[in-house]
């Protein structure tokens, strides 16, 4: 910061507090903006005025250890409607495949999922975990995390329990095959992965 009018500095401080996940101590703001303490205090005063309660959707607050932005309490009900509900965007093909493997084979490890799908499935597993559809169920004896479906999964698919999952034979291209489902999936996956 070289020119640094108070208004310009207030804008930068607002941007910094917007990005920071935790309250930022004054000392860190001074260092990041490369200004004096007096300059920074002036900018904070200005910002506090602009973000005074009732003026905007965001307010400035001094909390333990520093300064932070927070939302105006008036937005709480809308925020709950927007954010505190299960996320149910359409499943991508990768997510549907991964979820199907976990649902039918659980508990199942990530290496097994990757072998069946023929591609690394990290991001699908992660997304399904974040949405609460699958959860960790311990570790295999080789140390790999193993997964199962969650209670939320059953709710979102309208299942009373896992026994309500549709019968695989309905979708099986060769339902007469007697071999174990897991083995057959692994075998088909290896054929797909072969060049």
């Amino acid at each position: 910061m070289s020119d640094g009018s108070a208004a310009e500095l207030a804008r930068i401080v607002e941007a910094l507090l917007f990005l920071a996940p935790d309250p930022v101590p004054v000392g860190e703001l001074i260092e990041a903006c490369e200004v004096s303490e007096v300059q920074l205090r002036n900018a904070l005063d200005l910002l506090a005025e602009e973000l005074a309660p009732g003026r905007r959707g965001i307010v400035l607050r001094e909390v333990a250890g520093g300064w932070a932005l927070a939302t105006d309490p008036a937005a709480e009900a809308a925020a709950r409607r927007l954010l505190a509900r299960p996320k149910t965007p359409p499943l991508t093909a990768a997510q549907a495949e991964t979820l199907a493997i976990v649902a039918y084979l659980q508990p199942v490890s990530r290496p097994e999922i990757a072998r069946i799908r023929g591609v690394s499935s990290e991001s699908a597993v992660q997304t399904l975990g974040e949405r609460g559809l699958i959860e960790e169920a311990g570790r295999s004896r080789f140390g790999a995390v193993i997964y199962r479906t969650s209670a939320l999964f059953e709710r979102l698919f309208g299942l009373r329990g896992l026994e309500d999952l549709p019968d695989v034979s309905k979708f099986d291209p060769t339902p007469e095959d007697a071999a174990d489902l897991r083995e057959r999936l692994l075998e088909a996956g290896e054929q797909r992965a072969a060049p």
Binding site: A15, F18, L19, A20, P21, A79, R80, L83, A84, R85, P86, T88, L91, A93, A96, E97, L99, A100, I101, A103, Y104, I116, R117, G132, A151, L152, R155, L156, F157, G158, L159, D164, L165, P166, D167, V168, K170, F171, D172, P173, T174, R184, L185, E187, A188, G189, Q191, R192
Partner: protein, 256 residues
Amino acid sequence: MRTADLELDLDVFTGPFDLLLAVVLREEVSLLEVELGAVVVAYVGHLEEEGDLDLEAATEFLVLVAALLELKSRLMLPAEEEAGLDLGPEEAADELLARMLEYRRYRDAGAELGRRLAAEAPYLHRAAPLPPELRRVSIEAAVRAYDPDRLGVALGDLLSAPPVPDTSHIRPTVSLERRLGVVRALLRRASRIDFDEQFGSEDRLTQAVTIFALLELHKKGEATWSQHENFGPIEVRGEMVEGRGRRVEAGAGGRG
């Protein structure tokens, strides 16, 4: 240096590589008369001077030489009977040119995307966790949003082994880096390998790129290879591995 600028001095052509490409496409020079081996030798000579291997440039070169090889082999082979493969040299040249133009379009679009990414970089988005009161999702409030059959269908797809793909329309793609890896892995297991034994069943492009990998290994002093007569067996020997082994032994001896 760009591959395009590689200077060539061949029996039938003198000038930069991209011009050779251009005159071949226009049939100003018959590809049958161009010794592609000499082009490769010139490129390897250039690599020798350059010292370092620029993989991007080397890949570009390989793509172009492979395209020329394909074109030349089509010219040399008797006309194929099969439908779809009976491209005359003119159509083949057109096709090659079209492919190069298509590639150029996406190369330039990619450069534009790169600029856009840089221009957008100063806009920073917030990545903070939700406040605790908004983090909990109520299971009771969750209603059915997905069809369970979706899972059954996905599993059915995973159970079906894919049909053997018809690859007749796809050109083989081979990466020099990977071929280097393959040869190095073989040389770690055996100090000598026979080229035909190892690679005889590979397609021609793979074999050609493997030869190029051998040139690269030779330049780096990792391998040498010899062929005592035309069309005779090619023997590849890993030099570096033995050399390292000797150095280690000598060092151990010195300490002991």
